[in-house]
């Protein structure tokens, strides 16, 4: 049976390739560090189940240490603009079609594999379909574009180095959630918040959750970091357990309420300040000013969506 384990083997292979290919990038002065970092990720994917809990914890500490020291980024391997333009003119719509293979496979596979419990682990159909989609898209790429064998991995390595240590941020935050759950953070915050929300007011709780996501995101500049906090504080104890809300709706739309906060904060420099500099605006906050008029009504809409859709 195909389980998530196979997907981890595939992901481990990809990370190992990123690590090895990165070593050949002489334009990156920190290529050894990058190689160790992605090598540790490959180890985790391949052998995480054999390392034990404490072993995995040490692996995480090693990742943090290397990530904290800083990874490097090379310039090697980028296709020349003229070559890209020539290829683009030749392949035109084919490129979008190949890109479509991944989401299409993930979507079809999610519905199809549910009916094949003997073949595929039904609990993980979407992630298995996603991995299959990647393989199919690569096959289509080789066939339709006649790409050289190593090109996808080499280009993937280049993009991976551009993402850098931020690549493991979501996984780290998900793990932090486990420590929060273990320590009972949700119960503690929930007890405080419940003092502030009128007792028994579902709408009050939803508003507190949505506004909290936006405000925490504005303070931290990152909706990903705000989410574990708000889920532990209000989402889980109050909305999902207390009022029986649909967890998919509460969390998916809650995250989007956080994104409304991202639009309004200079802390999210990458999205709000860097473009202002890139466009040579005199007002550093010019982009944020144009975004507030969309973010505030959209935040209200998100809060109403949670209220309507999560509690039918």
């Amino acid at each position: 049976m195909i389980t998530l384990h196979w997907v981890y083997l595939l992901a481990g292979t990809a990370f190992a390739a990123f690590a090895l290919l990165g070593l050949t990038d002489r334009t990156n002065p920190r290529r050894a560090r990058n190689a160790i970092f992605w090598g540790l990720m490959a180890t985790s994917m391949w052998a995480g189940d054999l390392l034990g809990d404490f072993g995995n914890g040490l692996l995480v500490i090693a990742l943090i240490a290397i990530g904290g020291l800083g990874l490097g980024r090379g310039t090697a391997g980028e296709a020349a603009p003229a070559l890209r333009a020539a290829r683009a003119a030749r392949h035109r719509g084919t490129l979008f079609l190949i890109a479509l293979v991944i989401p299409a496979t993930a979507l079809i596979g999610t519905f199809l594999f549910k009916h094949l419990p003997a073949l595929v682990d039904v609990k993980q159909v979407t992630l298995i379909s996603l991995a299959l989609g990647v393989l199919l898209a690569l096959a289509a790429g080789y066939l339709a574009l006649r790409a050289p064998l190593l090109l996808p991995l080499e280009q993937g390595r280049r993009l991976m180095d551009q993402v850098g240590w931020a690549a493991i941020l979501p996984q780290m935050l998900a793990s932090l959630g486990a420590v929060f759950a273990l320590a009972g953070v949700g119960e503690a915050v929930g007890a405080i918040i419940q003092l502030g929300i009128p007792a028994g007011s579902l709408f009050g709780a939803v508003v507190a959750y949505g506004l909290g996501m936006a405000i925490f995101t504005m303070v931290m500049g990152n909706a990903f970091a705000a989410f574990p906090v708000m889920l532990a504080a209000i989402g889980m104890p109050l909305l999902i357990h207390g009022y029986g809300g649909n967890p998919a709706v509460v969390s998916a739309i809650g995250m989007l309420a956080g994104f409304c906060g991202t639009l309004m904060t200079p802390m999210a420099a990458n999205f709000n300040l860097v473009p202002a500099a890139l466009l040579e605006l005199k007002d550093d906050y010019g982009v944020i000013r144009r975004q507030i008029g969309t973010a505030l009504p959209l935040l209200a809409v998100n809060i109403l969506f949670i209220y309507w859709f999560a509690f039918p």
């Binding site: 914890g57 290829r87 490129l95 890109a99 090109l151 932090l176």
Partner: protein, 230 residues
């Protein structure tokens, strides 16, 4: 109540711009110690969770496909599509870009467009040209405003399109977190709930762009008639 220390650590740590990986580990340590766990137990708990949430990081297996397509000119194709919006009014041009950005992000193609890739070289100059075709020469303040609208439109399109693609960090982060509370969801169940907000974002931002168009057009009506006109 001391377990709330971890939340304080993460808020202050992110605010002060320390390396987020270090902040997360410090928050985990503070929370665990406050709850009476010893350091080995905390590191083990974190390691166990890290191993169980490995699927959050499998999103990166799509990079070889994206890299392959970009080497074969995917971004250049995206630019050609954006270029096809030339000739529209500034509001329609930006609304068209908003839709394109949302649709491509929903397919997982978050990096084919962006501030360095498309906004600066393409969208902002096209939007300025469109606005000046509508209203004649614009004062500096309004040129700035049009450029800012271009960047804002890119952000709105990205944020409220990407979560429809199920293999994106935020969706798998949610799946991983919910699992820590013994709630199992499929990524697809989460990503479909990004669709209503995506539509609302298009309507709200699109409405504001329509109003921008009207304001720019009104400038022409208010401005003295150009030479040669009645």
């Amino acid at each position: 109540m001391w377990v709330l220390l971890g939340i304080a650590v993460i808020v202050v740590g992110f605010m002060l711009r320390f390396n987020p990986l270090l902040v997360i580990m410090a928050a985990a340590l503070a929370t665990g110690l406050a709850a009476g766990l010893d350091p080995v137990a905390i590191v083990s708990a974190f390691g166990k969770a890290f191993n169980e949430t490995r699927y959050v990081s499998i999103v990166w297996i799509v990079l070889p496909v994206i890299g392959l397509l970009e080497a074969f000119g995917l971004r250049e194709r995206a630019r050609a599509v954006i270029d096809g919006l030339r000739g529209a009014t500034v509001g329609r041009l930006l609304a068209g870009y908003l839709l394109l950005r949302q649709l491509t992000a929903a397919l997982g193609l978050t990096s084919v467009a962006g501030h360095p890739q498309t906004v600066r070289p393409l969208v902002a100059p096209m939007a300025l040209a469109a606005a000046e075709a509508q209203a004649g020469e614009l004062p500096e303040a309004e040129r700035e405003e049009i450029k800012a609208w271009s960047a804002a439109t890119d952000n709105v399109g990205l944020f409220f399109g990407e979560d429809i693609f199920l293999a994106i960090g935020s969706i798998l982060l949610i799946k991983g977190l919910l699992e820590q509370y013994d709630v199992i969801v499929q990524p697809l169940q989460l990503s479909v709930w990004a669709i209503p907000t995506a539509i609302a974002a298009f309507l709200i931002h699109g409405f504001r762009l329509w109003r921008l168009d009207r304001r720019i057009n009104a400038r022409r009506a208010a401005a003295p008639a150009p030479e040669g006109a009645e």
